[in-house]
Symmetry: C2
Subunit: 251 residues, 2 copies
Amino acid sequence: MSGWLRVVGVGPGPERWITPEVSALLAVASDVVGYQSYLARLSVRVGQTVHGSDNGDELARAQHALSLAAQGARVLVVSGGDPGVFAMAAAVMEALESGPAAWRALDLQVLPGVTAMLAAAARLGAPLGNDFCAINLSDNLKPWRVIEQRLRLAAQADFVIALYNPASKSRPAQVHQAFAALRSERSASTVVVFAKAIGRPDEELLVTTLGEADPSHADMRTLLLIGASTTRCIERAEGAPFVYSPRRLEA
Amino acid sequence: MSGWLRVVGVGPGPERWITPEVSALLAVASDVVGYQSYLARLSVRVGQTVHGSDNGDELARAQHALSLAAQGARVLVVSGGDPGVFAMAAAVMEALESGPAAWRALDLQVLPGVTAMLAAAARLGAPLGNDFCAINLSDNLKPWRVIEQRLRLAAQADFVIALYNPASKSRPAQVHQAFAALRSERSASTVVVFAKAIGRPDEELLVTTLGEADPSHADMRTLLLIGASTTRCIERAEGAPFVYSPRRLEA
């Protein structure tokens, strides 16, 4: 039997957000490759080989998966969220581009999933209801000045801004720099949301403003949303307010 | 039994992209509200009332859904893709904000789905592998100058740009204006993708460049992707090339 590779996402949290397409592949894959903590969420089949790794070297993980498929394995590369948004799909493409020519004949597909930004937005109401952007705040692979320039231009464009990977133990300072850049471009009343561990048992949503927000609140499991100038809250009879960005902008 | 409202997305195409959470709700809703052509994809249960409408007045559709729920119905508002991305969630929030105070006590939730941009990206490889933005090109609800300014700033930020609703029968000219703005900011060799009817039987992917692209190729079922300066293709042994945006940007 010839091998194949599927690059999939299992959503940000619970099984109810995993597409049937991905669940079906989990049942037939011979090998499952991914970051340990994503794999821990999945039910593994008897006979399946699980290749867990830490969150470090995505490129090495992608190369490993491609070589397994080239040897005839039925390989699933698993990301949290959607594989194409700051996850494994780009790493697999990089490995493919720089790898043996034979890899280009592999049966390789990427399959979509629910990314954290969409799950967080749903919990809140409709914060992405107008034009938006998504920025990976990690400078592991790109210079900080590019990130800061993108933040400034996104703020000037009045996009709703989703910030992935806002902070980690090795990068505690950058989210503070990001807030400083945003505060110089946007009003203090701009709605800001810290969405932590969305869909997980320890989910936590904090709705605040750019003026009041404490950037230290962000960690590696947080998605940050910075509202547009029009983004606002709707109080409810009970519970947290909804957050939404109206579709209509006045001329 | 008291009513509720769930605002859901059924993805851009096939059932294999509908989350189990949404499928489960389809089985228990008393009323299903949505654009006719999305509802046509779903299996309707005996006894369920389907409220189809044309694609025109989202606000009226949202108000209708809220009033049904207030009367005790178990209502599903169905969008294609994800409900929070240029779909029904924002319209429901607008209707809620301007509606009777009693609506704010309703059991109302938005649930995430797979938006067209993610499905198209998966088909291509990893075009959203670096920072990106999503812009609704329709000027039905916002001035064209805002859209054009956002296009220019997004191009300057070197975002990958996803354009939703690039053209319709009543708006054939704007996609040409959008390309004119993009061509003044980005190189002619920029990768451009027309992704039509992704996941449907008549799916069509056209990979071209900003210099070569014919904007007339876009219609209301097309998602347009404009690459970043680093977005590139990987030729395969057979079939269409992959398109991806490397994670790494040089200093």
